[in-house]
Amino acid sequence: MQSKLSDIELIEQTLAGDQSAYADLVKRHQRFVFTLAMRFAKTREDAEEIAQDCFIKAYRSLDSFQRQSKFTTWLYSIVYTTAMTALRKKRVDTDSIDDENTYIQIENQSSGYDVNNAENKSRSFYLNQAIAQLLPDDAAIITLFYKGEQSLEEIGQALGIEANTVKVKLFRARQRLKERLERNLKHEVNELI
């Protein structure tokens, strides 16, 4: 059972030497951190490694958390930086994720799946599939906005950009996601939207 204490109270207990308080913080935020990491890593193993790395980094620098922002905003900025670093490292060995060929490959994969199975699959599945086909930045902004309980300003803080830029990026990301859904679901899209 998870602790009912606030994030700040758990941080104070952790700083006082109670490691179980930090375990509660990890349990509380692990799903979102992992989902955010998935937006960059694509495979569960890599995402789990990134998410684990983020919590260890956050633990190491917990005493430097100024408490001027929400703990989640601070944590998501660590996730973003760690995930971007991991993505850059991957790019050295493999093709760029922005690479046109990679993008076409993903596109072909998506258009090839059987739309007749649409009825058997949940809406969430299609949505997650379409999000997975977006560029990492777009997917991260949509996830932060809808599931991270973050305002445009807080997303800006986490990503190190202005709130207005977040607004524009969010608009474009939603447009692309809508296009992806329309392309993936074809006629079935009317049922979803």
Partner: protein, 176 residues
Amino acid sequence: MNSVEEKLWNYIDGSCTPEDEKAISLLIEGDEVYRNKYNQLLKLNNEFSVMELDEPSMAFTYNVMAAIGQEHARQPLKAAINTRIIKGIGLFFVVTISVILIFALYKVNWSAGAGVVQVPSQLLPDFKNLLSGPVMKVFLFFDVVLALYLFDTYLRKKGNARAMGSVQTSGQQKEQ
């Protein structure tokens, strides 16, 4: 960029000005194209809001805490020792030496002659008494106790590090 969609998204997010909000709500009421587009985007917005989060493996928290515990066990002595203690010890010696020096200089008989500095006899310790049997025995006994204590601490740390290593391995096996 589609300005109609952008305005409607801002309206849905509640990030437009009160004037814009009023104007857009009038457009939605009066214009069917606007209304249809608004309903479509609102439905999409609701879909986005209920998207499910991914679940990491069962052993995720356990792995994180084991990694943190292992990091603690591996922490170098330099990082484990509180720097304030080191600074405090340093300060103690600096203050003691300074006090002795000032006291010695104060007590020196400067009128005794150039080139000859006579340090007052009460400042020098009585070495004969210090090196006598009982004092030496107490000193050696203290050294032995200290050595045993440090050896015990070293063995405990080594044991903890080994235990953390086995915990980490069993965690990974559990996950697999």
